[in-house]
Subunit: 183 residues, 2 copies
């Protein structure tokens, strides 16, 4: 899939300095031939970013709907999903995080807006858990910022996996980031 090769290159070299000739080389074809399959370089970035955003949104919606979970359990499910996305789909997720600023308008605006909405919904999960659940008193916005960024550390783990296994990493992060919020 061209999109996945693009994600890998965009992650490694950055979007602006990944040339269509680089991508073509990775796919095993001449640069001009790519245009039989894609419309533009910009479109590749759009597909990567919005697909990832969609997957995060879908999971959050699912968690919001599960009424058998406590606030803290919901938060844990979300954090675990973030961790797994960073571990299993590093290229796409990193491009979504680091290169989305190169989206052209109106896509960049739409993307930033979707992110704001996502953050707000996550804050809501925390507020609910604080009010009538088992989450201790905190500033929801600060916690969301911290959670969503902390998992970005997985980027560095990926470079030298030997240190610690994926499962250990996940458990340690959940312990550090979520269990500490228990009332």
């Amino acid at each position: 899939m061209i999109t996945l090769a693009a994600a890998q290159l965009f992650r490694e070299k950055g979007f602006p300095s990944t040339g269509m000739r680089d991508l073509a080389g990775e796919v095993g074809v001449e640069a001009a031939s790519l245009y039989n399959h894609i419309r533009s370089k910009a479109e590749l970035l759009q597909e990567i970013c919005f697909r990832v955003a969609n997957d995060f949104n879908a999971q959050l919606m699912e968690v919001e709907a599960s009424e058998n979970l406590t606030g803290l359990e919901k938060l844990e499910a979300i954090v675990r999903f973030h961790i797994q996305m960073w571990i299993n789909r590093l290229d796409e997720v990193m491009v979504t995080n680091n290169e989305s600023k190169y989206l052209e308008e109106p896509y960049n605006g739409t993307f930033l807006n979707e992110r704001r909405v996502y953050v707000r919904r996550l804050e809501q999960v925390i507020e609910d858990g604080m009010r009538k659940g088992n989450i201790k008193k905190v500033q929801p916005y600060a916690v969301v910022l911290t959670l969503m960024s902390a998992v970005r550390g997985i980027e560095f783990w990926h470079r030298t996996k030997k240190n610690i296994s994926a499962e250990e990493l996940e458990e340690n992060m959940v312990l550090h980031l979520v269990k500490g919020l228990k009332k």
Copy 2:
């Protein structure tokens, strides 16, 4: 200062897509005139990245040397310094984090190596605190990854400061990230 204008542009537009003509415009001069003051675009990035790295190293050395502090207090001092760097010198710190991959060799290699050493020294602080101090049993590497990345969330806070003050943000992050590690 040209370097600071460069840091701002590199952060906003990314290093590869910041042109010398963009930078010149920001400084109020023609592109060619910049070369009376700097040697190359690449050198600007080097100056930014290694100056920030130096400042982090200096502070860590200072903390390591203060023998009146417990392990947890050392960790707190380090985390607070990270937070303040992200708040007060966002441009430079973000460029150091996000654009350092565009450093040419051998600078990129040197930079990555310095970072590895920094992480290892931070792990050592945690291990010491665990063995003979007041830090609970955790995987030091996982904690360091989490701590160093969590503060990156400040990037988003910077865009819309209204939400919460810098002091509140710092206290919430320290509470979330450090106090939870107390044995």
